[in-house]
């Protein structure tokens, strides 16, 4: 119930030395939509992006805690956090609240220094899995699983990966009442990051 209160969905996929992550833009309270400009993708470093789905207050609290820890790491160690380290940090952060968890499910997409991709999905307790194809989270997760499975192929170039993720997100949200009102899609490549806003069924 806590996961469905505000709505929201995330999908992340990996391609040929590029990763793509998308979220819907809806922020609501059960059946009432409050805002249609609430993307749930956040940039951590130039190479790491995190999408958070679930209860909006916990999305914001977890994001603030993550930003704090990443900033302190960068100040202490004088270097950027690696994706593997970031994934472990987020997992631990969530598990610290094992018996009173944050109702937020992260999806992490990242590019390692050597150009390989990292894709990771976690539940609200920090159980992380790094599949090589795609990760979906949020209220429209079930709807998006079918599409992501069908559209994904290994080593897709950036533009094709963008199409794949966009179609998965749009079709998934079309069929889910708690997600939608457009999508925000970000492709992360070695030398550039492109963010696009898509118009979907505006309901």
């Amino acid at each position: 119930m806590a996961f469905q209160y505000n709505g929201g969905s995330i999908v992340g996929m990996s391609g040929d030395n590029c990763v793509c992550i998308a979220s819907d833009n809806r922020y609501g309270q059960q059946l009432h939509t409050i805002s249609t400009d609430f993307p749930k993708i956040f940039k951590i470093t130039d190479k790491i992006f995190i999408g958070l789905s679930g209860l909006a207050t916990d999305i914001q609290t977890v994001l603030n805690k993550i930003k704090y820890k990443v900033n302190m790491y960068e100040l202490r160690e004088n270097r950027k956090m690696s994706p593997k380290c970031f994934k472990t940090m987020v997992s631990n952060l969530l598990y610290e609240r094992r018996f009173g968890p944050f109702f937020a499910e992260p999806v992490i997409v990242a590019l390692n220094d050597d150009g390989t991709t990292m894709l990771c999905g976690m539940d609200c307790l920090g159980a992380a899995e790094s599949p090589k194809d795609y990760v979906v989270a949020g209220t429209a997760a079930n709807e998006m699983h079918g599409l992501a499975e069908a559209y994904w192929r290994p080593d897709m170039p950036a533009e094709e990966l963008f199409e794949c993720v966009s179609q998965t997100m749009l079709s998934g949200c079309d069929r889910n009442a708690a997600s939608g009102w457009g999508a925000t899609v970000t492709i992360v490549q070695k030398d550039k990051i492109i963010t696009r806003k898509l118009k979907a069924r505006m309901d």
């Binding site: 209160y5 505000n6 922020y27 309270q29 009432h32 409050i34 805002s35 400009d37 609430f38 209860l55 909006a56 207050t57 999305i59 914001q60 609290t61 603030n64 009173g100």
Partner: protein, 204 residues
Amino acid sequence: MTEYIIGIKGKDFVLVGADQTAARSVIVYQQEYDKIYPIGKKTAMAVCGEVGDTNFFQESIAKNIALYEMRNGYDMTPNEAACFTRHRLATSLRSRKSYMVNLLVAGYDDIEDKPELHLIDYLAADIECPYGAHGYGAMFTMSILDRHYNKDKPPTREEAIALFQKCCDELQRRFSINLPVFRLKIISKDGIEELPIVKAKAFA
């Protein structure tokens, strides 16, 4: 939930409105209750929710923001005030004492030269929006705001007040709780200004 607070952002001002009813169960104690409190020179907070929590939380935030100004020598911007309020509410959510308050933090940011309106619900989810409302009344009036508010050409003062009047009239027509009079405040770079009381005129 039966209280109503609303904020509408203009080009260089924010309009904050609230009903003036102080009621418990079926009795109305007062129809002149001010729910919009100044928390800085150019920031105000409209609060609705659990009786007692509203007053306590609002005072606590206002005094802490005043302390920040004393310590640092400058005001908190509306964004900072909203962030601070959200953090306080989020920390208290999973503690022994949680506050059941829905609020609007509205203000004029002198540094960026723009108005800001933050909608924070009782679970401490903060969203910056061009217009927003809390309470059952929001379900009736958000669609009016969607229809008449133009994001590319934000309303002038007169247009915003007319929009607010439309919302009040709609509440009088369709909402079963009687909210006859509303308090209106405008926050711009000149500070917080109180406007004349707005009466719902649906059956005038």
